[in-house]
């Protein structure tokens, strides 16, 4: 690897490492796993360093890498010891209100198809608006709308199955 690439990666790691680590803790729920996830994220950053955008877009780009990695970890390694535990507050049947419950959304996201879950997590759990989700994922806002609509259908089915 050339020195310039080393410098670039070092710079990205120092600048965005703390933010990405905090994000990974939020997604994965424990520090040791989040540290692994942060390192895995920057391994992927290194692989695609030539495509790394500058300045403000760099955060969104690394966000996508970290989010995809963590959601795959949650799916593959079942890092959800209490994902099925009942949340402490009573729930409502109204979908919009349900989707305001970040813990519940997190549980539904973990059961959702890959294509929709990253968009859903960013929107419902992390609170990004549709434009921000589109920016992070590098897709059109229309695509985000479609993925969120698909997630909404999955959520309805999940809630109905849970209630029956």
């Amino acid at each position: 690897m050339v020195a310039g690439a080393d410098d670039r990666l070092t710079s990205l790691y120092r600048m965005y490492g703390p933010v990405i680590y905090a994000r990974c803790v939020r997604l994965l729920g424990d520090r040791a796993t989040a540290e692994d996830a942060t390192q895995e994220t920057f391994i992927r950053v290194q692989r695609h360093l030539a495509k790394a955008p500058d300045a403000e877009e760099a955060l969104a780009w690394i966000y996508r890498i970290a989010t995809n990695y963590c959601l795959n970890e949650i799916r593959d390694r079942k890092l959800r010891p209490l994902a099925d535990a009942e949340p402490p507050e009573p729930m409502t049947d109204h979908l919009d209100a349900l989707l305001a419950d970040r813990d519940l959304v997190a549980r539904i996201v973990r059961r959702s198809p890959e294509q929709t879950r990253t968009a859903a997590w960013l929107h419902f759990v992390d609170g990004l608006d549709q434009s921000e989700v589109a920016r992070v994922l590098g897709v059109s806002r229309r695509t985000v709308v479609n993925r969120l609509a698909e997630f909404g259908e999955n959520a309805r089915k999940f809630v109905h199955r849970s209630a029956s």
Binding site: G17, E35, Q39, R77, E86, E89, E132
Partner: protein
């Protein structure tokens, strides 16, 4: 509407979104998220970055290639780096044996959220615990706070562990309303097959508390002879002005 995680993280990096600072000043939830993330960022910068950032003298970026689960990569890399997960990592939160674990929830103004290590909580927040006993029959939940006070949360005010409800997963009955004692508070869950005497735990917690706030923030494994597993979670309460 609340600030998105992306907006909060961008703010942490110095990017200003119009109106975001004003929102943060008036929104407890967003401020809590921001402060929790700030504590984690500080932990990364102080504890993780120094031992994981790439070194130019090394021929490549192998320092990134050491996730604990990547065994094959670990074998190749172990001689080239200071093995951060073995040497420098804090004691595992599940410190003894078994897979019993818990999740801590907080409720503030009707909003429920998961309490992760380093979370910033407020006086009046209500805390509840959900546990996976993994075969353990008894549980003691105890804490040490920034004022050096030991509390027994489960069974509340009890002298020894209480039997766990039947089932693979349980939401423990009742909730804890946080007082205004500022600083860190570390809560321990001790799973066992026989009851654990609370005084045995309290003595160790007082010893931790005697070390001050930083000692409470550090992970600890208690020495409990008949414990099956233990875990802990630390949160912070602000100084009230």
């Amino acid at each position: 509407m609340h600030l998105s995680a992306l907006t909060l993280d961008a703010m942490a990096l110095g990017s200003e979104t119009p109106g975001a600072r004003e929102h943060l000043a008036g929104c407890a939830r967003c401020r809590g998220d921001f402060e929790s993330a700030a504590a984690l960022r500080e932990h990364f910068s102080a504890q993780i970055l120094p031992r994981t950032q790439p070194r130019k003298a090394r021929p490549s970026w192998l320092v990134f290639a050491m996730p604990a689960f990547a065994v094959a990569v670990a074998v190749a890399v172990v001689a080239l780096r200071p093995r951060p997960h073995v040497v420098a990592a804090p004691p595992p939160e599940l410190a003894i044996k078994g897979d019993a674990t818990w999740q801590v929830f907080a409720n503030r103004n009707g909003q429920t959220f998961t309490v992760h290590d380093g979370a910033r909580l407020e006086p009046g927040d209500r805390i509840r615990f959900a546990v996976i006993p993994d075969g353990a029959h008894y549980l003691l939940v105890a804490s040490i706070d920034g004022a050096g006070t030991v509390s027994i949360y489960y069974p509340f005010g009890g002298s020894e562990s209480a039997a766990l409800p039947a089932g693979d997963r349980s939401l423990l009955p009742g909730s804890i309303v946080l007082d205004a004692a500022p600083g860190p508070e570390r809560m321990f869950a001790i799973f066992s097959d026989e009851p654990v005497v609370a005084d045995q735990v309290a003595d160790q917690l007082r010893a931790i508390g005697a070390g001050g706030a930083d000692a409470i923030r550090e992970p600890h494994a208690l020495t409990i002879a008949n414990a099956r597993a233990q875990t802990s979670t630390v949160f912070e309460k602000p100084v009230q002005r």
